[in-house]
């Protein structure tokens, strides 16, 4: 397991709390502001997912699609997102782990080996590839490369997946596993607690790996419900929404900060 994630989950356990994982699209609305946002998020979140934008994403709602397009317009590409994370990590005081969340194309085009190496040199702690299939040669290669360098390969499981699929996924998954709480796009529905319970059970039957839950978590009460079952709550659209609506507002980071502070109140086990 990646060291930073290990520490995060251990600390939370000690405090009888869950962890909050925040998502923001890298370079949304631009490099400078994105950097400020990520630094601010690192004060409140247990871990941070940075979206490496892809213009033909297939699982994102309009909120995150728009963020992707803003970032691409601002010049976002794989190289710059690595640079952004590296700079942010060097400026923050803590060891908050950072993940890159993206689709397979940017990774594949960049070259999987090079991408893995760059994770290491940029202090990236984990990678999530939304559209990576267990059977694809790219998935195999990426999981192998990330394992070598102890970067977490966090994989998604969804309410439609059966135990066989979850078992297969667990073989490659490292540090934690990501439950998609409903059948739908990021931020398009309310978190579905029943689904989470069902999938968690299947995971727990097969593994002790920490569980993060994402899709549809926006409020303190959402966080609270999820933390009763899982180890981490992932908040994406809620944050990206604030960025989208306040991209030229001087109070942007303050707004994010107070939004996250409130969510954290739901982290008690």
């Amino acid at each position: 397991m990646n060291k930073n994630f290990q520490e995060m989950f251990a600390k939370a356990k000690q405090e009888k709390k869950g962890s909050l994982i925040g998502f923001a699209t890298g370079m949304d609305p631009n490099y400078k502001t994105s950097k400020k946002i990520l630094i601010e998020m690192a004060k409140h979140c247990g871990a941070i997912e940075v979206g490496l934008p892809f213009n033909t994403s297939t699982s994102d709602s309009a909120t995150i699609m728009d963020a992707n397009m803003r970032a691409i317009k601002a010049g976002a590409n794989t190289e710059k997102i690595f640079k952004l994370i590296k700079e942010v990590k060097s400026e923050i005081k803590n060891n908050v782990p950072f993940l890159i969340m993206t689709y397979m194309n940017p990774v594949y085009v960049y070259s999987i080996k090079k991408f893995a190496k760059k994770c290491k040199t940029s202090n990236v702690d984990g990678v999530i590839i939304v559209d990576s299939n267990n059977n694809s040669p790219e998935d195999k290669e990426l999981s192998k490369e990330l394992k070598k360098i102890n970067v977490a390969y966090v994989k998604l499981v969804a309410p439609t997946n059966d135990e066989a699929f979850i078992k297969e996924t667990l073989k490659k998954c490292s540090s934690w596993i990501y439950i998609v709480s409903y059948a739908g796009l990021t931020g398009s529905k309310q978190v579905n607690v029943e689904n989470v319970k069902k999938i968690s059970k299947l995971i727990r039957k097969n593994s002790k790996i920490p569980i993060g839950v994402g899709f549809g978590i926006r409020t303190k009460s959402d966080v609270s419900k999820v933390i009763k079952i899982a180890d981490a709550a992932i908040v994406g659209s809620g944050i990206v929404d604030i960025v989208g609506k306040n991209s030229k507002n001087h109070n942007l980071t303050k707004k994010i900060s107070s939004y996250l502070k409130n969510l954290k109140k739901g982290l008690n086990k």
Binding site: Y103, N105, S132, N133, N135, A158, N161, V180
Partner: protein, 414 residues
């Protein structure tokens, strides 16, 4: 008339990849949120079951013959031979009249087959699809109307304007139209939008309009669509005693190409695919994938040749809504890379002029998509100058929905 039976050749491997024996490059696969993996497995299972289910196949073939009207003729075009330099110099030119299908294009053969499978084997109540020229949506919506299923169509805002007639017909058939305002507002974001919608409606079945998308779609679509080529091959042999010397098809995603080319892959026919060069490939404003500087990439569930700007999918641009796509289907890319299919391109301007020429000289209103192939075919046939050859051009659609724009073009250019 019976539809010649399907014979599987050139199958992908169990993970849905075609493997280039020289480079080991893999084309196809399944790159999609885990949410949809079970659906794709179900589609694949249903597809395999369907092919073996005699009652299903009989019912399907009857509908293809009587509802879609797949037994369309092959027309010898002396008019095109004349334009190319005369039969004595360039050989004979034939047109496969897929424009005479119900809903006026090759699309209904796959659409209806997929929906029929969705109804009777997948047991879906709702179909989701994307569309470019709205030929696909129109035919999916028609199938859904007849089969009493709900239909949701994703269409780019630009295309909704461009081919409003087909869009309106889709609506008359009862489809719910989702207009997509992202990126190019055309086929590619529409397909992304459809895939997204499927994730929110995993009980629905997704019906792809070309030989693209995650496995098993590329294989399934070309299998259904190959009915056209199976019939055409038989007809062509009856007319000329041989398979065609050359085959010309336009290539957006590649479904009309594969529909005709698939049954001829093991024959001696030289196969040409024609892409849209838009305003000219060097301008960067085009819809050409293979000839437009593509590399291997992963999008919309599959790995294939894609035109990109850094790692982002490039924005294609062409008059033809059906060709407005920065990728080709994986089997098409594979067949290009192993040298089985050659590529040519035609600019928008040349295609538009070809449209007017076809109206004035042939008495046929072709889909604008088909004008790219007719133009390129005439050039190639002229160049070959082989009076012994029999050329087959796929007239893959009728152009009613292009008339509004083309009559404007005609009037502006007179």
């Amino acid at each position: 008339m019976k539809i010649p039976p399907f014979k599987e050749i050139n199958s992908p491997n169990k993970n849905g990849y075609w493997i280039n024996p020289k480079t080991k490059e893999a084309y196809g696969g399944q790159y999609i949120s885990p949410l949809l993996i079970p659906n794709l497995q179900k589609v694949e299972k249903c597809f395999k079951k369907a092919l073996k289910d005699k009652k299903f196949m009989k019912g399907l073939e009857e509908k293809l013959l009587t509802f879609i009207g797949v037994n369309t003729p092959i027309l010898r075009s002396k008019e095109l031979e004349e334009i190319a330099g005369g039969q004595k110099k360039v050989g004979k030119i034939y047109l496969k009249r897929t424009d005479l299908h119900h809903d006026s294009s090759h699309k209904p053969v796959n659409s209806f087959s997929s929906c029929y499978m969705a109804k009777h084997i997948f047991k879906a109540k709702k179909i989701i699809c994307e569309t470019g020229a709205s030929m696909h949506s129109r035919s999916v919506a028609a199938a859904c109307a007849m089969l009493k299923m709900d239909c949701e169509v994703h269409i780019g805002a630009v295309d909704a304007e461009k081919v409003s007639l087909n869009k309106d017909i889709s609506e008359l058939y009862g489809a719910k139209i989702v207009v997509v305002h992202e990126s190019t507002k055309s086929l590619l974001p529409a397909m992304a939008s459809a895939l997204r919608s499927w994730q929110s409606n995993p009980d629905a079945m997704y019906v792809v309009g070309s030989v693209a998308g995650p496995s098993p779609y590329p294989r399934m679509v070309r299998t259904w669509a190959s009915v056209i080529g199976r019939i055409a091959k038989q007809q062509f042999k009856q007319i000329t005693g041989k398979v065609p010397s050359t085959l010309f098809c336009v290539c957006g995603g590649g479904s009309n190409l594969m529909s005709m080319a698939y049954p001829l892959l093991k024959d001696k026919t030289e196969i040409f695919a024609v892409e849209s060069a838009g305003e000219g490939i060097p301008t960067g404003r085009h819809g050409a994938t293979i000839l437009g500087g593509s590399q291997m990439g992963i999008l919309l569930g599959f790995k294939s040749k894609v035109v990109m700007k850094s790692a982002q999918i490039a924005e294609s641009l062409t008059e033809a809504s059906g060709l407005d796509f920065a990728a080709v289907g994986p089997e098409v890319a594979y067949l290009h890379d192993i040298g089985r299919i050659k590529f040519r391109s035609t600019t928008d301007m040349a295609a538009k002029k070809t449209f007017l020429m076809c109206c004035e000289k042939l008495g046929i209103v072709p889909a604008i998509e088909a004008c790219y192939v007719i133009n390129a075919a005439l050039k190639e046939i002229k160049k070959r100058k082989n009076p012994k050859e029999n050329h087959l051009i796929h007239l893959c659609g009728s152009g009613e929905s292009n008339v509004a724009r083309m009559i404007k073009f005609k009037r502006e250019n007179e």
